[in-house]
């Protein structure tokens, strides 16, 4: 049930083209490309990747999004020029996370189209097009899932591991794009779909399913581990129904599992080999309002929590609640970054995160789940206080007590913080986070749920700036030791991409106004920028081949740009989606490594 565009087919197409009169005078047909070898990705390599490569979603499985490459640095960045560019195969939200290993770039786009490109030249090596099932046109929410696929692949051994919008895990041969195996993990006709890629460690694929706010998925949302060689399931953890934990069961205040939704862990988790623990963020509960949910003030575990699970068994080690009893769709699944602060035996083992749309930054002890610090970044009015133990007290004025009661909430359903991922530099011991100032009205409604659609039962007003604030776009530099702000970059257009930190002292990212920027990691000054075709998106990343450092940057449609466009009307968002990849490198004559 899959289509592939192999090199053979490409060769055939080329030959067909040569038969046309316009090409008749061309010389002999090009020689068939030699079969490509591929160096397998080992478990050890995943834990300690070669400096010149980017083999996992955030390069390392601590989710730092940091590269030790430094040829592109504060001095040389001005010499960046285009090496090659590439149009992406599908439109929709630009959330692509390119990976590079052994000279090949693996690019996953919406609709689960996977391409392998020569990372140096931009030539296509193979393409895999996953065939998604036909879904009824009325299943609006579910239809959209294939249009917002993020960081959708992982490399393991000689395979590319793909988690698909129809809830399958597929292993492709990295050298050819041929399907090695595939397995249907969940019933997609209930609403399940993968929207985030897996973490692969110790021969296990650890993945999380999405779509758990779709009506048919009531009662189950999962993190699971599969054997990376065979696709066989090893364990499964339900984020909204954990009979092993009475506190979890009580937290829904009598709402039975068949009327619980949400808890989607829609950001790829991190992994600590020291303790063999995997860390995942969990999304909001459904319906969004406790009034409609029927759960009263219950904290509805494990929604909006950090979960620490044993990677071998899926047993829960600890959980921490960042936003209990959410009433505003301010879900908290975003990146959990593992950081060691200090050296040797005295090192503190931290988990740092801006987990939720409300933009509050947290530091936890990742071995125990103990709360260390927290701080507001952007303006928010939903959390009143967080005590010394990390217990969160909500602003009860903003909890609707009647259907149709409108409340004005900051941040908004589209963030605050969103999927666009921050990066950590071990050089500066700083966590860099893209954020937005935003508010919206939230009104609980009553709806009859329909197949393929979400159970939010909430009406949201347009996204607006908070009172007395004119700059919606924010990048914060957060000291991981205590959460203090080192610097803050503000501008009117919102930031629309994830960030990349490098040993060159630069933080790369971009905005809804189409500017790609290099930011000084110590001062927050923009030291270089260039304007591309569309909002900067996805996950900018970097790699090195033959002594040259490359910077790869996705651009394209951004729901964040579109939903915030009224905040900066002087900079119109383009009509076209333009999903593309731009790859830069330093001009040859400016590099000592080459002529």
């Amino acid at each position: 049930m899959t289509l592939r565009l192999t090199t053979k087919l490409l060769a055939f197409t080329a030959l067909s083209a040569m038969a046309l009169p316009a090409f008749a005078q061309d010389a002999a047909a090009p020689a068939a490309p030699a079969p490509r070898t591929y160096k397998p990705v080992t478990n050890e390599m995943i834990l300690n990747p070669p400096p010149e490569e980017w083999i996992s979603w955030r390069r390392t499985v601590d989710n730092q999004g940091y590269s030790p490459l430094d040829l592109i640095n504060k001095d040389t960045v001005k010499n960046l020029e285009l090496a090659w560019a590439w149009p992406m195969a599908a439109d929709g939200q630009q959330e692509a996370a390119p990976l590079v290993h052994d000279g090949m770039m693996f690019l996953s786009t919406n609709q689960n189209i996977i391409q392998a490109l020569d990372a140096k030249t931009g030539d296509l090596i193979w393409e895999y097009r996953h065939v998604l099932p036909e879904i009824p046109a009325s299943w609006g929410y579910q239809l959209n899932q294939a249009r917002r696929q993020k960081n959708s692949i992982a490399l393991y051994d000689d395979k590319v591991i793909v988690a698909t919008a129809d809830a399958k895990l597929v292993a492709l041969e990295a050298a050819t794009g041929k399907v090695a195996w595939e397995t249907q993990v969940y019933d997609t006709m209930k609403g399940y779909s993968y929207t985030v890629g897996p973490l692969v460690v110790n021969d296990k694929i650890i993945s999380a399913i999405s779509g758990c706010s779709i009506a048919g998925t009531a009662g189950g949302c999962f993190i699971a581990a599969h054997d990376a060689k065979t696709g066989k399931e090893i364990w499964r953890f339900n984020t909204i129904d954990d009979p092993k934990n009475p506190e979890q069961e009580a937290s829904w205040n009598g709402v039975p599992p068949e009327n619980r939704w949400g808890g989607t862990p829609w950001t790829t988790g991190s992994y600590d080999p020291r303790t063999n623990t995997t860390f995942w963020g969990v999304g909001m509960p459904g319906p969004y309002s406790q009034l409609i949910r029927g759960s009263g003030e219950g904290p509805v575990l494990y929604t909006n929590n950090t979960l620490a699970l044993d990677a071998d068994t899926g047993e829960r080690k600890w959980n921490f609640s960042h936003l209990p009893a959410d009433n505003w769709d301010l879900d908290s699944p975003f990146e959990r970054i593992l950081v060691d602060e200090g050296q040797g035996d005295a090192a503190k083992h931290l988990l740092v995160t801006v987990p939720g749309k409300d933009g509050i930054a947290f530091g936890l002890d990742r071995d125990t789940g103990k709360y260390l610090w927290s701080r507001d970044t952007v303006y928010q009015n939903v959390v009143k206080s967080i005590d010394a133990e990390g217990k969160v007290t909500l602003n009860s004025d903003l909890v609707p007590t009647a259907v149709n009661q409108e409340v004005f909430v900051c941040t908004s359903v589209s963030g605050g913080k969103l999927w666009m991922t921050g990066a950590y530099s071990p050089k500066t011991q700083t966590y860099y986070v893209p954020l937005a100032e935003a508010c919206n009205t939230v009104t609980p409604t009553v709806t009859e749920f329909t197949a393929g659609n979400a159970v939010g039962a909430t009406k949201f007003g347009p996204r607006v700036l908070p009172p007395n604030i004119t700059n919606g776009g924010v990048v914060e530099a957060i000291n991981v030791a205590d959460g203090a702000r080192k610097w803050r970059l503000e501008q009117r257009p919102t930031f629309s991409s994830s960030l990349l930190a490098t040993a060159g002292g630069l933080v790369f990212g971009g905005d809804a106004g189409r500017f790609l920027m290099a930011i000084d990691d110590e001062t927050g000054q923009v030291v270089w920028k260039t304007r591309l075709n569309a909002p900067i998106g996805g996950y900018p990343m970097t790699y090195e081949i033959d002594g040259e450092q490359y910077l790869a940057v996705p651009t394209g449609f951004s729901a964040q740009a579109s939903s915030s466009a009224s905040m900066f009307p002087e900079i119109p968002v383009p009509s076209g989606s333009g999903n593309s990849l731009f790859v830069f490198k330093l001009r040859n004559d400016t590099q000592t490594a080459s002529k």
Binding site: A137, S138, L143, G216, A402, T445, T447, N453, F460, A565
Partner: protein, 188 residues
């Protein structure tokens, strides 16, 4: 027990028949066919490239169906949002008349019938157009004709724990009354 679609459709039909009584306002007849036609031209020009020429969705979400109607609750809910935030190339810049015409087209495309008077850009009028009711009627109507989809899921769609129970509900006059969730009066 959740209310079956048919019962809701029945309630909606009853509501439509008794349009002049009580708070159940009929969803039909709030715009003219000419206005919806003007709105279609504007929609195709300003909205269709993202939301689809049949409102089926593209990079932007679908603007059709029970989920869309239910999410916004009233025509005023849609207007409040899109007249400020859309289109991303010129948010809030199309002018009151154009937004109102496009709204008439969106209502028309969602199965609401045209009437003899144009939809005015008046919040009170727009807020009184109950889309939840229209959505329920659509859901009821859609069932017998949904044979184009392969096999309609046999299992009933799970509903909220509070569905069919009384919930405090804010009324247009600001008072709060207990209203049975899922009944047409729940989203006045």
């Amino acid at each position: 027990m959740p209310f079956p679609n048919k019962l809701i459709a029945g309630l909606a039909a009853l509501g439509a028949g008794l349009a002049l009584h009580g708070s159940a306002v009929a969803a039909d007849g709030h715009f003219t066919a000419e206005q919806a036609a003007r709105g279609q031209t504007q929609y195709n020009s300003n909205c269709g490239s993202c939301h689809g020429m049949q409102l089926e969705g593209g990079v932007g979400p679908t603007l059709k169906g029970t989920d869309f109607l239910g999410n916004w609750g009233t025509a005023g809910g849609i207007y409040d949002y899109f007249s400020v935030a859309m289109p991303p190339t010129a948010p809030g810049k199309l002018g009151e008349a154009v937004y109102t015409d496009i709204l008439a087209y969106i209502l028309s495309a969602n199965g609401l019938a045209a009437g003899s008077e144009e939809l005015p850009a008046d919040p009170a009028v727009m807020n009184a157009i109950n889309l939840t009711e229209a959505a329920a009627a659509n859901a009821g109507n859609a069932a017998p004709t949904a044979t184009t989809a392969e096999a309609a899921p046999a299992a009933p769609v799970p509903q909220a724990f509070t569905f069919g129970k009384a919930l405090p509900t804010k009324q247009p006059d600001g008072t709060v009354k207990d209203v049975t969730s899922g009944s047409a009066a729940a989203n006045p």
